[in-house]
């Protein structure tokens, strides 16, 4: 509860700081808030399941873990991107929006009521609609924000209709009641349609095929730091919420949903990797790769049993990797451009950036011993005996994934007479991130 309070108040206080002309305190305040939240989760780590606020939210192991993960990602995002946000001159607005969005993200981890879920999604999304469009003079940013908004609200409407139908079938918004209703006996057609619509809504939020179309456009058009935020915190929160909902509440329906999820995952993997492999814009390529990672995240749903380890690990490993990548991407994007060619010869003048980017990409590709590998490892190991065919598709598409990541690495290590030179800041933070990618191997067991 305290955690939520911190997150909710964070945005407000940021606005207050703006009013009092204390902009330079904003970043430390956010860092402190994030640290406090992380500290809070660790303090409560072993806590029993505790339903709070008249059945609105719950603090359990899952909520704590996912909260910690999201906060770590947010903190890491902040540390790597704060200069870029501050450069815009609108840091108070942007920080506040981010803080609100973050609050929504945390709510996604611990709701026990569909009302909360709905509000969480909206609190998470609405600031991001704005953030995506936050570069007001850029046509691409505008377009990105607009597309995100239109499609997002349509998806929300579909999700809502699903919730309504589910409510009609079960008579409650409470996850525990819904769980019991779905577990007992046959599931009414009404519920099935509701589930389908909820699945559609979530499919949109985490961007899996065929609901993924917005993602590349929006990711590409949005300012790179925001893209990083969307790809990590927002997507992570969405998948966490979905996991709680589907694995927790819709447990009874999962056996039936499994086949559909498998198809969705397979289609997503094929489409996303196929599309990514033909991109010349690195940011867009990363967006498609994000879609394929979403498929992996979705795949954690069909692992038998409610074991959040795989999803938590996947989100944090993918998150840190892509934050590192987006951070370098941003530097290059600002200096040279986002095309593949713009990365040529990065290693010549900026070996650190090139190395960091490489490690990030390799981690995303799932090369051991980096964190990305363990993320994939848990997914595949969970599926190998039940869905061997899907794992083979995963493996094959991973190779395609490796292909387009390698293209970037090649570009960076290509010899060229006019290498791109970028400003290198946050070396320490990025190094920490890289270390985290390696150390994940050991940290896995505490998740």
């Amino acid at each position: 509860m305290v955690i939520l309070l911190i997150s909710a108040l964070l945005g407000v206080s940021l606005l207050a700081l703006e009013i009092f002309k204390l902009r330079r305190w904003m970043m430390p305040l956010m860092v402190m808030a994030f640290l406090a939240i992380i500290g809070g989760t660790f303090a409560l780590w072993g806590m029993n399941e505790n339903v709070m606020m008249q059945g609105m939210i719950v603090m359990d192991a899952y909520a704590l873990r996912t909260t910690a993960v999201l906060t770590i990602l947010a903190l890491f995002w902040l540390l790597t991107q704060h200069q870029n946000i501050e450069k815009t001159g609108n840091s108070s607005d942007l920080y506040a929006l981010l803080a609100f969005s973050f609050c929504g993200a945390l709510l996604m981890t611990n709701f026990t009521n569909l009302v909360m879920l709905f509000l969480a999604i909206e609190i998470l999304s609405i600031p991001v609609y704005v953030l995506a469009a936050s570069n007001r003079s850029s046509l691409l940013s505008n377009e990105s924000g607009f597309k995100y908004f239109i499609l997002g609200s349509a998806a929300s409407a579909i999700l809502l209709f699903g919730i309504a139908l589910l409510y009609g079938a079960t008579g409650s918004f409470d996850l525990y009641n819904i769980h019991d209703a779905l577990m007992s006996g046959t599931i009414a057609p009404l519920s099935w349609v509701g589930l389908a619509m909820i699945l559609t809504g979530f499919g949109f939020k985490i961007s899996v095929a065929p609901f993924h179309f917005w993602a590349p456009d929006v990711y590409q058009g949005a300012p790179t730091p925001i893209t990083g935020w969307m790809a990590t915190v927002v997507k992570g929160a969405a998948i966490f919420g979905m996991y709680r909902l589907f694995k927790g509440a819709f447990d009874g329906a999962m056996p039936h949903l499994e086949g559909i999820l498998v198809i969705i995952i397979a289609i997503t993997l094929v489409i996303a990797n196929g599309m990514a492999s033909i991109q010349s814009n690195v940011k867009r390529m990363l967006a498609y790769s994000g879609v394929s990672h979403a498929a992996f995240m979705l795949a954690t749903m069909i692992i038998p049993g409610f074991d959040p380890q795989s999803i938590v690990l996947y989100v944090i490993s993918y998150g840190i990797s892509s934050l590192i990548v987006f951070s370098i991407m941003n530097q290059v994007g600002q200096t040279a451009g986002e095309e593949l060619n713009n990365f040529r010869g990065l290693s010549q003048e900026n070996p650190f950036s090139a190395a960091a980017m490489t490690i990030g990409l390799l981690s995303m590709a799932g090369i051991p011993p980096l964190a990305g590998f363990f993320g994939k490892y848990y997914v595949i190991s969970g599926l190998i005996s039940t869905h061997p065919g899907l794992t083979i598709i995963m493996v094959l598409t991973s190779v395609v994934g490796m292909y387009y990541y390698l293209k970037v690495i090649f570009a960076m290590y290509q010899k060229t007479s006019i290498p791109v030179v970028v400003e290198e800041n946050n070396k320490v933070v990025l190094s920490l991130g890289i270390i985290a990618l390696v150390a994940m191997m050991v940290a896995v067991q505490w998740m």
Partner: protein, 629 residues
């Protein structure tokens, strides 16, 4: 005493190492002396070992080193001393040391003298390993080792690619046989569980476990023997191998290495005895080779080529004998052949030496007066190979013929034919070389001289051996009647299956007379043509008669192999490389990459940036989901 056997191969090896690593500083004389002395030392030891065996010692095994021990596969570097191996080491080191001695003179002016002596030493080392090894694998070591030495020595004058081609051909064709041997070894190990002679034949009888595989095993071993001993159809390398220096031809391609195949078959006489089919194969391969070799030799004009085909033909005789179960006789012929063929080669070397490298007998003639020692010793060799009593060749060849008569008249007839041919072509060559007018250039005539002592001494020694060597194997029936033991047969009884003969004395004598008569007729025939009528030998371009041309072209075997194997294989690999490797496999790999991109390109129009498309996709997806649930 037998323990000393380990030293026998060691000496030549030391010689090789010494000359290779320290020989450069030595004069040619020293290096040659060291090489020769070490082999001679081995010869002395070999005599000692042989003596113990002569006195009826049992087969002894001398282990030197653990070699390959893997599970049930136990093979050591270990030597066997028994009659067969001791006989072989005796003539290997004996003939070997003579040829070393000869080489000192023959190779004296060659810049690669040190190299040559070291290779010869190495060859002797491997040859000794081959016959001394107490297991098939060690035999194989020697087998391959002599093959490599043969390769190095054939291509000794490596600056000329013709020599290198010949060397390569010899090695590769040998490898064909080696594959057979490897497979044979594998089969024997799989079925019998051991490769040691002791388990297989001498101490045990594990070879019997081959059962229904016996024929296959025997045939595989024989394929190995065919390669090494130049039996049809793997014989074509041997004549080409004459590209090497003449002492090499004498040592490797006449006296020792090429008889390794006979050693192998004789060693596995137990196996061949139980396999009728394999023995038949051996016989016929031998007969065909004998006839073919003899017939080709009729038309060759290169002095060494004639001898080479003669060797092929004689080896055919030996295999024919082996196939008919006359193992001891085959070995007997190996020994006598080693004497007279080494003699002939060395003699021819002496001639070539005198002629300044000329090898074509059409360019020779009348050398008798210029080099008497060579002439007389060469005559001994020629008579010996023609099979005239009492020279060595008579005894061994006559016994093979006798055995053939007993077994199979067709074989007998063919061998008789080959023997007749032998007498003819040998004397043809002999007359053309030593009699008549000199037909070479003036320069050559001026240069003619008798060879130095180091070369003539071996000739004389070998001539003596060729003269008396035959008495170690007196024909069975006659010997029995005269109470002369077949010494060799008796001696070898400890190692290999004995030859059984049931001929009467009269038949044996009759046969001997007939074969001698035929040989004599052939010699007269040759005399008539080349001395009396002095018919000039046709130049290459003048050869028109189809039969003559066929024989002169060696039945076109080289061309046939070229067209049947080398070219198709080259074409096949080039084709595979181009189509399968480059186009198909690489295309598949790169194509799969394109396939992924292809998916992207197909789907790209769908990602057209239009909100309505995206929304439509969502709705379609939703409908599909509702249907699915």
């Amino acid at each position: 005493m037998e323990k000393l056997v380990a030293l026998i191969p060691l000496f030549p090896l030391l010689g090789f190492l010494y000359i290779t690593f320290f020989g450069k500083n030595q004069s040619k004389g020293t290096a040659g002396a060291i090489a020769t002395a070490l082999v001679a030392l081995s010869f002395v030891l070999a005599i000692l070992v042989f003596t113990t065996q002569l006195h009826g010692a049992h087969a002894t095994f001398v282990k030197v080193l653990d070699w390959i021990h893997v599970g049930s596969f136990q093979v050591d570097l270990s030597f066997v001393v028994d009659p067969l191996s001791s006989l072989y080491i005796l003539f290997i080191t004996g003939v070997g040391s003579l040829i070393h001695l000869y080489s000192i003179g023959y190779m004296h002016d060659d810049e690669g003298f040190h190299r040559f002596m070291s290779y010869l030493n190495l060859f002797v080392f491997f040859m000794l390993l081959l016959v001394l090894g107490d297991n098939l694998l060690l035999l194989f070591v020697g087998w391959e080792g002599v093959g490599v030495c043969s390769f190095m020595l054939i291509g000794f004058w490596y600056k000329d690619h013709a020599n290198n081609d010949a060397a390569k051909k010899a090695f590769v064709m040998n490898r064909v046989g080696d594959l057979g041997l490897i497979l044979g070894m594998s089969l024997i190990f799989v079925q019998c569980g051991s490769l040691n002679y002791n388990d297989l034949m001498i101490g045990g009888s594990a070879i019997g476990h081959l059962g229904k595989w016996a024929t296959l095993g025997a045939v595989l071993l024989f394929i190995g023997a065919m390669g090494k001993s130049a039996q049809f159809p793997l014989h074509t390398w041997l004549p080409d191998a004459m590209a090497g220096p003449t002492p090499v031809s004498a040592l490797i391609h006449a006296a020792t290495m090429v008889t390794a195949g006979i050693y192998l078959v004789a060693r596995f006489s137990d196996l061949f005895t139980i396999s009728e089919g394999a023995s038949q194969l051996v016989t016929w391969a031998g007969v065909i080779t004998a006839v073919m070799g003899a017939s080709i030799a009729l038309t060759q004009n290169d002095i060494k080529k004639v001898l080479a085909y003669s060797t092929v033909s004689q080896l055919g005789f030996m295999f024919a004998a082996l196939g008919m179960g006359a193992y001891t006789i085959a070995v007997f012929h190996v020994v006598t052949h080693a004497f007279f063929k080494a003699l002939l080669f060395l003699g021819s070397g002496s001639v070539i030496h005198a002629m300044g490298g000329e090898q074509d007998i059409r360019r020779m003639g009348g050398l008798k007066s210029h080099m008497p020692t060579t002439y007389w010793t060469f005559l001994v060799g020629t008579i010996a190979i023609a099979g005239i009593f009492p020279f060595a060749g008579f005894f061994s060849k006559d016994q093979i013929l006798a055995h053939a008569m007993e077994n199979n008249t067709v074989v007998f007839a063919l061998l008789m034919l080959a023997a007749a041919g032998t007498a003819f072509y040998m004397f043809r060559m002999f007359y053309l070389t030593f009699h008549g007018e000199f037909r070479g250039t003036h320069e050559q005539e001026h240069h003619l001289h008798e060879s130095p002592k180091t070369m003539t001494i071996p000739l004389v020694v070998l001539a003596i051996a060729s003269t008396v060597g035959g008495f170690m194997g007196f024909p069975h029936a006659i010997g029995h009647a005269m109470h002369i033991e077949h010494a060799l047969d008796h001696f070898l009884s400890g190692s290999i299956e004995l030859t059984h003969s049931h001929m009467s004395v009269a038949t044996e004598i009759a046969l001997a007379l007939i074969s001698m008569a035929i040989a004599g007729m052939m010699i007269l025939f040759a005399y008539n043509i080349y001395i009396k009528k002095a018919t000039p030998v046709l130049e290459d371009a003048e050869i028109n008669s189809p039969l003559h041309r066929l024989l002169w072209k060696k039945y076109g075997m080289d061309e046939l192999y070229d067209n049947l194997f080398r070219k198709p294989i080259d074409a096949l690999s080039a084709g595979l490389y181009h189509w399968v490797e480059q186009k198909m496999l690489l295309g598949m790999v790169d194509g799969s990459g394109d396939a992924a991109k292809g998916i992207g390109r197909i789907l790209q129009p769908l990602h057209n940036g239009q909100i309505v498309t995206y929304l439509l996709a969502i709705i379609v997806g939703l409908i599909a989901l509702i249907f699915a649930l």
